[in-house]
């Protein structure tokens, strides 16, 4: 196998990945991520419609014909909302089903019931005890942000099925009717334990508070300890970007969340008011903020410069699966919705892509910092409308500076270059151990 890989580094990475792929834990995560791909993709396309056409702050509002009929507009808006909420918006619920199902199946337990129990359990945990709306959930936990938690929960549910119920009967040998009842009573203990456990958690723990806690801590750090020193500013922006990217890698968006741009950051506001009073972005006081470095140059196609990965696949990959996913995820990724590529390749939790996922954005940010320091381009300080393609963000944020546009393209090239070797490694590894292949199959039951 070593002959497939050129150098020591590639061999080492391949070894680590193959070893990880042997772990049940890792396999379940990867398969679950693949399983939710169609919903993430569909949700991604809906999100494009939402941010480009329906959003009032979108840059297309000026050229699209004005829809003067509010009724039709709200109808379309509602439809888009429901489609988004019940695909990408509750993808964690689907993931928890998948994770529980695969885990239970591996242990020869009732996989369907385990999956369903896991859905119930997640919904109970994220239930909002609200007096205003009787059936409402903490939405943040059900979207892509809750993915890691949902998968872990699913595995826990599968494991509880393993220790508290006996193995599932072979359903091919018996009649369906008696079989369902039999299955029920075999798994009843596990189901009861899990549901009671979930309701206790949901009642005692304020899930939104804790799921927001790391971000809130990071945010208050970012906001309260500011320094006028440029070096410290640069380091803190790099640090927080690193945190954001790594957090996204684990399906948890960080403080610089991809689509919404924070408004209350004082340095950004300071830059903007400088630019507005002086009628130019050149010479803005804060060169190294999230708006001048992270948003325009580190999110080319979504967190982790996913569009660079897609282009890298177009350029070097001969793998049909990669090509298909890249083709389908290209459009959402243009609008900075990277989640479809992240779940389809998959990039999420995939150890091979961790390095470029972090490295490409950071390299671009460092380059941008140097170019800004040398005054080769103006910093991007103006607000950028929602749905702006990642590649154009610097161009728009600088009020149409050509230097910034050219530099964005250079950044893209650098990111693609960083991604290419990893695409090759991933492709070779697929020929050795293809995780996508045995999805939902019975293969590893024989392992």
């Amino acid at each position: 196998m070593d002959s497939l890989f050129k150098n020591k580094f590639e061999q080492k990475l391949a070894h680590i990945t193959l070893k990880l792929q042997k772990l049940l834990f890792y396999r379940i995560i990867q398969r679950t991520v693949l399983m939710i791909f169609p919903f993430v993709l569909f949700g991604g396309y809906i999100k494009i419609i939402q941010i480009t056409v329906l959003d009032k702050d979108s840059f297309l509002t000026d050229i699209l014909p004005k829809l003067n009929n509010d009724f039709i507009f709200t109808q379309i808006n509602d439809i888009a909302n429901v489609l988004y909420s019940l695909t990408l918006g509750w993808v964690a619920v689907m993931a928890t089903f998948g994770a529980a199902k695969y885990t239970a199946k591996y242990f020869h337990r009732d996989d369907q019931l385990a999956g369903l129990t896991s859905i119930s359990s997640l919904l109970i945990i994220s239930y909002a005890y609200s007096k205003v709306q009787p059936m409402s959930f903490h939405g943040e936990v059900l979207g892509i942000r809750g993915l890691l938690f949902a998968i872990l929960l699913g595995m826990l549910v599968g494991w509880i099925f393993k220790i508290s119920s006996s193995s599932a009967p072979d359903h091919l040998t018996k009649h369906l009717s008696s079989n369902i009842l039999e299955r029920t009573f075999i798994s009843l203990r596990a189901i009861t334990i899990i549901l009671i456990f979930s309701v206790i958690i949901s009642f005692l723990v304020n899930i939104t508070y804790y799921s927001d806690l790391p971000n809130n801590i990071m945010y208050s750090l970012a906001n309260n300890y500011r320094s006028k020193n440029q070096v410290i500013q640069l380091l803190s922006t790099l640090g927080f970007s690193f945190y954001t990217i790594v957090a996204s890698f684990f399906g948890w968006s960080g403080i610089y969340s991809p689509i919404e741009i924070e408004k209350s950051d004082p340095t950004i506001v300071e830059n903007l008011s400088y630019a507005l009073t002086h009628h130019t972005a050149w010479g803005s006081p804060n060169l190294f903020t999230s708006n001048t470095l992270y948003h325009p140059f580190a999110t080319l196609g979504g967190t982790g410069s996913v569009l660079a990965l897609i282009i890298a696949i177009f350029l070097v990959s001969k793998d049909n699966d990669f090509q298909t996913v890249a083709r389908w995820s290209m459009i959402p990724s243009i609008f900075n919705i990277g989640s479809s590529a992240m779940s389809g390749i998959p990039v999420l939790f995939n150890i091979i892509f961790l390095i470029p996922f972090v490295l490409a954005p950071l390299a671009c940010m460092l380059l941008a910092a140097i170019v800004l320091q040398l005054h080769l381009m103006p910093p991007s300080v103006y607000p950028v409308p929602t749905g702006t393609p990642g590649l154009l963000e610097a161009f728009i944020g600088t009020d149409g500076s050509w230097q910034a546009l050219i530099f964005s393209i250079i950044c893209m090239a650098v990111s693609v270059y960083i991604y290419i070797p990893f695409v090759r490694i991933a492709e070779k590894l697929k020929t050795i151990d293809n995780l996508a292949l045995d999805e939902g199959g019975n293969i590893d039951e024989k392992n």
């Binding site: 702050d57 840059f59 000026d62 050229i63 909420s85 918006g89 609200s130 007096k131 205003v132 709306q133 409402s136 959930f137 903490h138 939405g139 059900l142 939104t208 927001d212 809130n216 945010y219 208050s220 906001n223 309260n224 919404e260 924070e262 408004k263 209350s264 950051d265 004082p266 506001v269 903007l272 008011s273 507005l276 009628h279 282009i311 177009f314 001969k318 793998d319 049909n320 090509q323 083709r327 290209m330 459009i331 243009i334 103006y382 607000p383 950028v384 409308p385 702006t388 393609p389 590649l391 154009l392 161009f395 728009i396 009020d399 149409g400 697929k430 020929t431 151990d433 293809n434 293969i443």
Partner: protein, 300 residues
Amino acid sequence: MKRTNRLNKRPLQKKPLKYLIILSVILIILGIPSYIWTKKNVATMAGRYNSPMSPIIMIPGSSATVDRFDSLVKTINKQYGEHHSLLKLTVHTDGKITYKGTIRPNDDRPFIVVGFINNRDGYNNIKDQSKWFNIAFDQLKERYRFSSFDAFGHSNGGLIWTYFLENYFDDSSINMDSLLTVGTPYNFEEKNSSNRTQMLNDFIKGKDKLPSDLTYYSIAGTQLYTDDGIVPIGSVDAGKYIYEGVIKHYTLITLTGSKAQHSDMITNNQFISIFHQYIIGNKLNNPNDNNNKKAPQVTR
């Protein structure tokens, strides 16, 4: 180890370049409207910067600290399933300010509480506190660049607001949309409004400086028809001599029943729904406002 070449051996069409071209074309097509957008937007913004943030600034009454409204904010967040963040500023007697808490990114309706180390009662203290409040207000404006806000004052907090509005506030650059006060003694402990205190006289004298587009709700609590245990209803009602006819709307609400006592009122359910409807909700209920789209998305 499994061999899965079967899947990958299909001859691959030489298409990748085609997608790169499509990609560039899409970007160019999108680039043109965005270029137009940014040129236009920057031009408008140079006129006036419209921040989406519109905080709710609260001032506690005398002898209360910035933590006075913690439970109120908690109750509101819980009861209405909203997630307002809470920022607390304490102004020291030398004008230094300590911050506690943070405003979450993308929170358009955060609560900001401004309290004072010297939080004693009395007209002179209120003058001092207004001066300190003005320092804090300038810092907040500088830091968060909001262009509108709503105000809440409990007891003497309402007096500080009034003094601030008459002596420091400049409504040409920033909008105060609505003000809500609870048990604010415009005539201190005087029951009879014909016995006007020095403060009330000063307030009436300066009333022309109040912002003319302000909407003001004043809540008075009563137990046994006369007072809320501390502040007589006549003293709260004296606010009409200051506000009536000068601002856009002046409303006096009388709260009775259990928890209508001066300090208890902010835990009163009736009060909480008034507070939510008129102060927090004033942005959400307005259908022409952009903000109404974002706020209710917290729960599904």
